[in-house]
Amino acid sequence: MGSSVRRRKIFGYLLLAPAVAVVVLLILYPLLQTVELSFRQGRSMSLSQIRNLPIGLANYGYVLSDAAFWNSLRVSLWYVTLSMGIAFLTGLSTAMLLNQKVPLRRLWRTAILIPWAVPGVIASIIFVWMFDGSYGVVNAVLRTLGVFESGPNWFIDRNTALVAMIIPTAWKAYPLITLSLLAAMQSIPDELYEAARSDGANRFQLFSHITWPGIRSVAMLVSLISALWIMRDVDINLATTRGGPSRSTETLALYVYNEAFQNFRIGPAAAAGTLMIVVAMMITIVSVWAIRRDKF
């Protein structure tokens, strides 16, 4: 009996082994390599020689004194905060709409969630066209409404490019929020609402005393996941503005990418990326801790 229990335990680990191997070989090992690369200072003509370079902190010094790095940090902060804000409000309001007893609810839910499935590159292409300065439909509508005479060249003008980039990002991010919040709302028992209504609670009180406490932990978790996604994603950034004009839309993730593959500075890119992961980990740990504490 004892040996069969042990055999079963070993079998359980065997089943898990390929997945752990993928994580170790394809995620953790490359990650450690990145950290190593971030300490290899100086330039090397060939990538195969890069690991013979001396160890030091020069790459970190370079990154931390690079104005473009701090600029990208600021851009990322705005980009994540604003995209997240818009996506969350859209997700919350659509979830509340879909939580009502509306005919054909399944159909509407599917329709509202579709943007999630649109690849970032295709979303980028669509929005660049819609926000085109001369022929874009957005400017045409705004002109008709009398907002302005000519309208900005959204993705090309450095004052509007970041705003223009935030819109497709939020558009792709909100469905996950809708879906999660809707699931949380549907698990709140109807009796709670009925009891509160018979006590004379108004719509706002129903939301703040029943709905919000019921969805709060899910809301925090899905916000964290979405924010991390927006922070690390470069698809939309790269496919719309490539960080331009003059770095006004270069996020931290794109800074890492551009340093490595446009300026061919692998070391500084790895250093900036390592810093980015440290920040992401700290945000995650603090948030998960806050969510856990909130739950229990």
Partner: protein
Amino acid sequence: LLLLVVALVASLMLFPIYWMVMTAIMPSEMILSRNPSLVPDPSRFSLASFYAVFESGSYLRWLLYSIIVALCSTLASMVIAFLAGYSLSRWTTPSHQFLGGSLLISKIIPGALIIIPFFVVYVQFGLIDSYLGLVLVNMTIGVPLATWMLKGFIDRIPQEIDQVAKLDGCSEFQLLRLVIIPLSAPGLAAVSIYLVIVSWSEFIFARTLMQSEEKRVLTVGLQSFMGEHLVDWPHLMAAGTISLLPLIVLFVVLEPFLVSGMTKGSLAN
């Protein structure tokens, strides 16, 4: 009134997709107008842009490569993730769950960063421009995602069924093959679709690792149009429509499973 609001919101959210399709089928003098009509006259629609897309050989090649990469990445990830998902669902010792939790680290690693070591290693081993190399990188996203989603689905198969099968003399492998796989078939289908969508959308890895022009996949090919000085919008929108259509069909199939699968899979822990 509520119906009206919902319909209005849904059309606003889907407007970008609608506009892509409209641009693809409108004649160019309507596209290059300062005031395009939001509901164009259907009698002037033409499919010329779609024909043009199919006639250009490169689009069909991108499409084919994207399909191959998506299928291989999904298949490889699914096999590994199914075993791991089953394992995490049935073995619940802390060390086991810790190993499972370590899969979630992929959630905070930016693609723009993880691609750097892959690039360095691939240059040395000649894996640049190789689809095998691309599939391997795609698995770094696919395996962790699918493992946790599949765990959610397999959790819903009662463990009593395992016990009964064992009493009937099933070995561990027979249990997997004859009981767990059939019972989790809807979950397997849903997660596969999810992974196909993820792989189809993948851009940054393919852009970096597939350096030669004739090896591009769909997303990279579409994006390459954007760099041109004069973009042929109807052509590009037609290409975008064809690329998006299969995803929307898959999404509609997947959607009922998402509420349970995605929230459990991506929010668990």
